[in-house]
């Protein structure tokens, strides 16, 4: 049996890789990809806890279902925004999207 800690550390590592991607990448689509990594780590965490605590309690699985729905909605709108920004500014480099700066 795989100990629970292994799953948690795997999820934590994936989450931190996603954090690095969000904070360090320049392309908006790459940032959204890193956000997807973070969401995947979260769902792994949820399901690991569901499995290793009482698997008869359905809350863990139900929560994971809603995380899927929210992730899908968020990536759709985020990518629509990225495409729209590209159309008006010809770039998706977040360092150059600074119109709201002081």
């Amino acid at each position: 049996m795989v100990p629970l800690q292994w799953y948690l550390i795997l999820a934590a590592t994936l989450f931190c890789v996603g954090v690095y991607g969000v904070l360090a990448r320049r392309n908006a689509v790459a940032i959204l990809m890193s956000v997807e990594l973070m969401l995947n780590a979260v769902i792994v965490n949820l399901l690991a806890f569901w499995r290793y605590s009482d698997p008869a309690v359905v809350v863990g699985q139900a929560f994971a279902v809603f995380v899927y729905a929210v992730a899908a909605a968020e990536v759709a709108v985020g990518l629509a925004l990225a495409v729209s920004i590209y159309r008006s500014r010809q770039t998706v480099d977040v360092d150059q999207l600074n119109l709201l700066k002081w």
């Binding site: 049996m1 795989v2 800690q5 292994w6 550390i9 795997l10 934590a12 590592t13 994936l14 989450f15 931190c16 890789v17 996603g18 954090v19 690095y20 991607g21 904070l23 360090a24 990448r25 320049r26 392309n27 908006a28 689509v29 790459a30 959204l32 990809m33 890193s34 997807e36 990594l37 995947n40 769902i43 792994v44 399901l47 569901w50 499995r51 290793y52 605590s53 698997p55 008869a56 359905v58 699985q61 139900a62 279902v65 809603f66 899927y68 929210v70 992730a71 899908a72 909605a73 990536v75 759709a76 709108v77 990518l79 629509a80 990225a82 495409v83 159309r87 770039t91 998706v92 480099d93």
Partner: protein, 165 residues
Amino acid sequence: MTLQQIFFFVFAALTLVGGLAVVTARKLFHAALWLLLTFFGVAGLYVLLEAPFFAAAQLFVYMGAIGILIIFAIMLTRGIMRQDAPRFNEQWWLAGLLAIVLLVVLGWLAWQQPWTTTAAPIREDSLHLLGLALVDPEGFALPFEVASVLLVMALIGAAMIVKEG
């Protein structure tokens, strides 16, 4: 080392290598393909966690829909210049430091905490129970309906945002 642990290491390696390749890939399209590999690794992990429905949902939603959406967005936002832009911004070292600190804190927390695990066997009809709970008025029927409304809003919103003119 039991067979389950071997499979865990295989899928964990797939996932982590894919994740690292996503954030460090030079070409954006390659990053998207590594992301698809990461999703596949995570699907394998769900099979190990005895949640086959989520493994199939991962393949369906993430690989088959979100992955494709990301690849479409990459193709639609490609610049006129063919050479790829610099990958990281100027504070990448700070981002790396933060990520490592976060990892150390989370890892230490996860490792030394005495989690109460039961490792009870999965019931035969756990999928059935999940379905029942999602439509039970005292279960998760309301979040289920709200999630549907959220998805419709996202659909309409995304279509409106990219509409031309």
